[in-house]
Amino acid sequence: MPRTDSKTELTPPANERPPMFSRILVANRGEIALRVIRACKELGIETVAVYSEADAGAIYLQYADKSICIGPAPAAKSYLDIARIISTAEITDVQAIHPGYGFLAENSHFAEVCRSCNIQFIGPSPEASRAVGDKVRARALAIELGIPVSPGSDKPVADEKEAVRIAHEIGFPVMIKAAAGGGGRGMRVARNDVSLVSNLYAAQAEAQAAFKDPSVYIEKLVEHPRHVEIQVLGDEYGNLVHLGERDCTTQRRHQKLVEESPSPVLTEDLRRRMGECAVRFARAARYTNAGTVEFLVDDDGNFFFMEMNARIQVEHPVTEMVTGIDLVKEQIRIAAGRPLGYRQEDVRLRGAAIECRINAEDSMDGFRPSPGLIRRFILPGGLGVRVDTHAHAGYTIPPTYDSMIGKLIVHRPSREEALLTMRRALEEFVVEGVQTTIPFFLDLFSNAQFLSSDIDTNFVETYLGKRG
């Protein structure tokens, strides 16, 4: 846990330090809204919470100093409506807006509107956000900086002939990806010429259907990949540090389910090299505030840049536990113009932290969302257990938004102990009234392959396939 009294290299003169915000608007809902309110309370900053009619009466709103209804349930008319949020910021006279994650968090236009209204957006500048948000530009920047990326066509392939040429250049197996893509649509794997050609057309058709753009490009497939991401923090004075990694290999349909820090597969040397790449990338993009650089890591310890996320992530608590650093407070301090106050060598990782996302989904029935009234809600507790949730007995989960109702985080001296603590915490966690992912996690935390972390990003689907 770095203390704020250590010296930094780059700081503004003491008499030029801007004052801390006195009031912040929280432009989000649910657990991340509560997370930001908690940070503000501890910093002595007043909060304005906004909410849609679907969230009216939620208890977490009462922890804010003021809460304002901004629209009806659909996010487009409430949490995604820039005008309504800025208007609320103006009538409540806040100095800054924290966007949380999702909704407007990575919308660089929103960040620009904030700037034009003289309201501090708590996140990177619109320019940095745009620079890292454009996948093609980001990949080009990584290549320019000498950061490893998986070899590929770098731009849409014109035809079958070009595709085959590139595939031979980089070697099979390859991944065909929609240029406009995301969420796995338009993605195909090819292991030889024949499958390349047939999958090329299939992927183009899928891409056309999903994104109205048939462009696809080709990348070398990283086999048995692990998803490992590096948390970075940068202030307004060019100080940049990384806070180690989060291993998010346990995913289902590109949705993270379990995150841990440290990664069970990173060596100290690999951590250092990946951290350096992440910081180099952030520095080149003139990135400030909290951000995450995502990599794939293969069986041989090679790592490949994927993208940078310009927001606080759902899984930020595991980094908080192992570093002792409150990431949301750091975001606010940085946005207020405060220097970081510590250097890379002051950051120490201690113990092992694991997070499970507790979703109101029926893991026995294809993870179908299960909104509704929570009749009984008994949280696990005790040594090493942290819970971040806005839910409680009597809370009704609206069907309108995402299904996450909380995060269960454990922190123990070793991964082995953390796994045991997580299992007993999951056993204690009682939710009645809605289905949750707890039974899934209870299974998972008894699975030998998972416990030994002998997994890749396909593990959960394979596992569920076997189980089902």
């Binding site: 009619e53 009216a56 009466g57 939620a58 208890i59 709103l61 009462q62 922890y63 804010a64 100093d65 003021k66 809460s67 304002i68 209804c69 901004i70 629209g71 009806p72 409430s78 005008a83 309504r84 800025i86 208007s87 609320t88 103006e90 009538i91 409540t92 209204c117 009234l373 009749r375 007995a393 009597g394 809370y395």
Partner: protein
């Protein structure tokens, strides 16, 4: 024990159709609950505020027979087109659906709000220049 008080509390409940009543005063604490279909105990959000800083608005019950014109967006409420000008509407005014009743300013844009109903303005609920949130009642209207 003061039975007289208890009896009067019970009578009060009957008279006013109360289903539950709680009183705490220096003499003691009383909690009464009526049998009947309305007497079901519903777990969950109580009306009491759970902590300091509580501020969730408790929607006021609409007065019976009156229509409410609510804010369709969040912003600042103005009763007249510009400072010093006449107000758009006053209590007692008869209005039609197209009648502009106020302006809500959001992000420097003056949004004219129409009545969208017919009747007589019986109450102006917000003072000029005050912020309003989405769904807040601006006017009450007696429909013809």
């Amino acid at each position: 024990m003061n039975f007289e008080n208890l009896k009067r509390l019970a009578q009060l409940m009957t008279e006013h159709g109360l289903s539950e009543l709680e009183v705490e005063d220096p003499e003691g604490r009383y909690r009464l609950k009526k049998a009947g279909p309305e007497g079901r105990v519903i777990e969950g959000p109580a009306l009491s505020a759970p902590g300091p800083g509580a501020s969730a608005p408790v929607p006021a019950a609409p007065a019976p027979g009156l229509h409410e014109i609510k804010a369709p967006l969040v912003g600042t409420f103005y009763r007249s087109p510009k400072p010093g000008a006449d107000v758009f509407v006053e209590t007692g005014d008869r209005i039609g659906p197209e009648k502009v009743v106020c302006i809500i300013e959001a992000m420097k844009v003056m949004n004219e709000i129409k009545a969208e109903c017919e009747g007589e303005i019986v109450e102006v609920c917000i003072e000029n220049g005050q912020p309003v949130e989405f769904g807040q009642v601006l006017f009450r209207v007696r429909k013809p």
